[in-house]
Amino acid sequence: MTSNDVRDAVREAAGTRTPVRIVGRGTWLDAGRPVRATRTLSLAALSGVVQYEPGDFTLTARAGTTLAELTAATLPHRQYLALDPFGDPDGTLGATVATAANGPMAYAFGGPRDNVIGLEVITGDGAIVRCGGRVVKNVAGFDLTRLFTGAWGTLGVVTEVSVRLRALPAVDETYALAIDERPERLTALVASVRRASIAPFAMELVSPEIASRLSLTATSTLLVRLGGNAASVRAQRTVLDTFGESRQVANEVWSALRSAEPAGTIVARLSTLPSNMAQLWTQAREALAGVPGAMIVASVGRGIARCVLPDDASDAAGRLARCEATVIFERLPAGLWAELAPSPVSDRLSRSVKDRFDPSHVLNPGVLGEEAR
């Protein structure tokens, strides 16, 4: 499969006004709003690394390449892509970029918008657009790369992605701290951790339900990933100990955390100012109290609480939607979208973007709640 095949498929769909659902490995299909499509365009066969020059710390791969394959390609050079979205490691690079999915390491390294340096995209009218490039710094022309990143495939089909890579640190260790989640204690803890002399790669607060799934004590726990040279990590560990007794855990805890979400769940991300993190945590805990299997994982430094609950917990989902925070649903039962999650692309500019990049409205129609045409 080549980009030209994708272009031909998109042109054909546009010509016949046949709506298509774009699919990588299909690990994200239960995310986003229901798509009004009669045909599937799979990119699974469009895979493989196109160019990798370790000395440049950049890599270009086809969209269907999985994150696990990228890890396998870069690890021998002690390099990695700092994108660790929640979900299956067999998720593809293309889907990660299309959904702007990010995970714990976004705290230190940002999300797809910060790590993608170039894209090849087939727009809805079948044009092959190659934006950005393969260098780490680039301001040539308007930034189409940012436009397509996180557009959920509604403006174009991502066929190739260039990313920047990072070097594995000499030491990479994870520590777990059981924490007291009473609001005033948590507020103080979050403030001191943010001010402390540490520079974590990731720092996530997990609810007791996740902690026990990760084989930790079933209590709210702060997971902190420290990277750097030995002296730096040692000193940061000492700082952590001033917040409570920290215990080193295996780094596998992160992959376990990312895949801890069972299929068929509701996922909502609540976000706020980092200084309101403790209140956000408390609100989310209260909204989910008594909901069997509900879990929360919060990026403390970024002020984001990711809430996972069974898909029949629509009342709890409603309570989350009413929290004092920005609420973004990733997954919801089909019937709840209209009620709980207004479309983020109904404004004039967004509608104009859609009309200009996918004039026939054939690409993933409906996934962002955009108007039918």
Partner: protein, 494 residues
């Protein structure tokens, strides 16, 4: 400033449409905040790049948010093109306007509206000066990370328009990575909010699309930026080399080691000698072929280990000496030479063209050799001073613009250097923008379909193409081009 536009003679040379607009604008900002005489507009006829000169019809200087909004709305009603301008330190001709367009000067909108130390963010007006923000944030132990060499003058609004970089972007990222939210007045007068200051935002990343749009998508009325904790410790090293290729190899070795310096800057022999002969003398070795300025910062713990590693890698690549700044004074001096290098080159000849291109980092040794070859072949003096850690080159050419033959050779050399960077897998600008200067190179890096897609994105924000018309994307790339006069692209070098 100007007398009332209705009373001064040159205004009568304006078209009736512009004359009417001038009166409206004067009623919004007051008669003293609008310039219309050719002599007054000289300052606004050029930016930091000496090749281009164009005089706008008018320049207007709103002082408040309300005035700015009213100015843009009045121009929308009159359908008059406009060009936003910050401090005019840009290096791509991006802030120049044709004689049918109005410059909107934003340097009076320079307030820092709020600083939130707890959440490490600030809200500023577009004309707030970059270094001023860092100064204001310093009492909280914070700073604004992107640090273009012009930071003592350039504005945050201008930085947003250009997606500006700077030496410390190697570790901390460019402007895009530091802007959280914008309020934007679109060219048609609508006020929109992009991004989010207090949480995530889903939907299309219109904030990301706006940053770096070079004034073509509208004007930021306010900007919410991230502030960064000041590092606990900073160490600055100067490594000196008798062969620039060795310095380039040191860059590759340091990057490959996994240590991410806060900054890694290179200056070649001609630059070193220009700096040392100037008032900015930093104590660089004048007989060196290149020096590498490496700064490491972060937590105190572990920093000395990184310093030792970087020093060893510099020596292994062939450094004659590696000097580590002993104190803040010495560090500031080493940096002053780098930051003022462009100014120091003014001693060499009356004019300087500052260039900007990027190559993959492993190609640095090849491209530096190629630039040297091009300089010899065309008989021009190239001074390289650049962000080596990013592969972001600044090959600057010192020349005398009064000498037509020399100027032609300069242009020839520039084109050859750009071509070589593109052939090496690089791009035509890393932080200065396309503006007018790089228009002709755009088709060398992007396909027609890609350029056309850029036009489509512009049309989302400005379908009439009145905001900074004729910049960034060559006119011929846009299938539907109705608005611009054909004369736009006659930006002949002076």
């Amino acid at each position: 400033m100007a007398a009332s536009p209705t009373s001064s003679a040159p205004v009568t040379a304006l078209s009736p449409q512009l004359e009417r607009a001038a009166a409206r604008l004067a009623s919004i900002v007051g008669p003293h905040a609008i310039l219309s005489r050719p002599s007054e507009l000289v300052t606004y006829s050029a930016d930091g790049l000496p090749f281009y000169r164009k005089r706008p019809a008018l320049a207007v200087f709103p002082e408040t948010r309300e005035q700015l909004i009213a100015v843009v709305r009045a121009l929308a009603e009159e359908r008059i093109p406009f060009v936003p301008r910050g401090a005019g330190t840009g290096l791509s001709g991006g802030a120049l306007a044709e004689n049918d367009a109005v410059v909107i000067g934003l340097n009076r909108l320079r307030r820092i509206l709020s600083i939130d130390p707890e959440n490490r963010r600030a809200v500023v007006e577009p004309g707030a000066v970059n270094a001023g923000l860092t100064r204001a944030a310093s009492e909280y132990g914070l700073h604004y990370a992107p640090d273009p060499s012009s930071q003592t003058a350039c504005t945050i609004g201008g930085n947003v328009a250009e997606n500006a970089g700077g030496p410390h972007c190697l570790k901390y990222g460019v402007t895009l990575n530091h802007v959280l939210a914008l309020t934007v007045i679109l060219p048609d007068g609508e006020l929109v909010s992009l991004g989010s200051a207090h949480g995530e935002r889903d939907g299309y990343d219109l904030l990301g699309a706006f940053v770096g749009s070079e004034g073509c998508f509208g004007i930021a009325v306010d900007v919410t930026v991230r502030l960064v904790k000041n590092p606990e410790a900073v160490r600055t090293l100067l490594a000196d080399y008798t062969a620039i290729v060795d310095a380039a190899r040191a860059v590759s070795a340091i990057i490959a080691s996994g240590v991410v310096p806060a900054a890694m800057e290179m200056m070649d022999g001609p630059t070193i000698r220009a700096v040392e002969a100037s008032i900015y003398a930093a104590g660089y070795p004048v007989d060196a072929d290149a020096v590498l300025l490496v700064e490491l910062d972060g937590l105190t713990a572990g920093l000395e280990e990184d310093v030792a590693l970087v020093e060893r890698l510099c020596r292994e690549a062939g450094a004659r000496a590696v000097r580590i700044a002993r104190d803040e004074t010495e560090r500031a001096r080493l940096w002053q030479g780098r930051k003022k290098a462009f100014g120091a080159m003014g001693r060499i000849s009356p004019d300087l063209v500052v260039q900007d291109a990027v190559v993959p980092r492993t190609r640095l040794p090849d491209i530096l050799a190629e630039i040297h070859r091009i300089a010899q072949e065309t008989g021009v003096l190239v001074c390289n001073v650049f962000h080596a850690g990013d592969g972001n080159l600044h090959p600057n050419i010192a020349y005398d613009a009064r000498d037509a033959e020399a100027t032609a050779r300069v242009h020839h050399a520039m084109r050859a250097i750009m071509r070589a960077c593109i052939d090496a897998g690089g791009t035509i600008t890393g932080e200065h923008g396309v503006g007018l200067d790089k228009l002709d190179y755009m088709p060398l890096v992007f396909t027609e379909d890609t350029l056309e897609a850029m036009c489509r994105l512009r049309d989302v924000f400005d379908p009439e193409r009145r905001a900074n018309p004729g910049k960034v994307v060559p006119v011929r790339s846009c299938r539907e081009w109705h608005m611009a006069p054909a004369a736009r692209r006659e930006a002949a070098p002076v």
